[in-house]
């Protein structure tokens, strides 16, 4: 089962965990990325995520293909938010299900690392006294 989504709305993590679960899986591993209050020493108020949606969906699916090829996964769910995300809110959820935990841990790590390298999404952090585009590669 695979679900790849980008959405402006808040992510309902509980609903995701229960969707498409299988008795053949011995592990469900969920990664939740959140907006934190301090970044590079500055107090963050919120983040605006910009997305090149058509390309982002293609890249997310490609990353899911690669993870499936290299790991025994029965379920992959990736949901990335765009637009304004407030402090403590979830910006990304990655759920992988596998018969064994090793596959889940490795696949989850691979997916988030590749997203941060390749998927065209950009965060702009807002502070009390301004804002700044964040580039993970710089």
């Amino acid at each position: 089962m695979r679900l790849i989504l980008t959405q402006k709305e808040k992510i309902d993590t509980g609903k995701i965990l229960n969707g498409g679960a299988s008795y053949s899986d011995g592990s469900d591993l969920i990664f939740i990325g959140k907006v934190r209050d301090i970044s590079r020493g500055k107090k963050v108020t919120h983040i605006d995520y910009e997305i090149y949606n058509e390309m982002a969906l293609k890249e997310l699916n490609r990353i899911a293909d690669e993870a499936s090829l290299n790991h025994e996964l029965n379920r992959i769910i990736i949901i990335h938010r765009y637009g304004r995300v407030l402090l403590g809110e979830t910006s990304i959820v990655i759920l992988v299900s596998s018969p064994h935990r090793d596959s889940s841990y490795q696949a989850s790590r691979y997916i988030i690392d590749e997203i941060k390298k390749r998927v065209p999404v950009w965060k702009k952090e807002f502070y009390d006294d301004g804002s700044e585009w964040i580039s993970d590669r710089s």
Binding site: Y49, P120, W122, S135
Partner: protein, 81 residues
């Protein structure tokens, strides 16, 4: 021939538009278009080495020959997650 250019995030802020249609010579290479584009947006020149480029929603080689109707995207390093 006509091509479309889309820009995102800090590159869009520098350029002042989201997307634009350009008329370029047939069989032009991607790197030639990028060089022309940066010349007309000098503030981008210092970012040139870090810019990411996609054609029709795929990362691609800079020596690719462009075709009528192609969509180029120019953007800074990504920072999702």
């Amino acid at each position: 021939m006509r091509i479309k250019i889309k820009v995102f995030a800090s590159v869009r802020d520098i350029c002042g538009f989201n997307e634009k249609e350009l008329i370029v010579s047939d069989s032009i290479k991607l790197n030639e278009v990028i060089d022309l584009f940066i010349k007309s947006n000098q503030a981008l020149s210092e970012k040139k080495e870090t810019l990411l480029i996609a054609v029709n929603e795929e990362y691609c080689r800079m020596d690719r020959t462009l075709e009528e109707g192609d969509t180029l995207a120019i953007f800074p390093p990504v920072s999702g997650g």
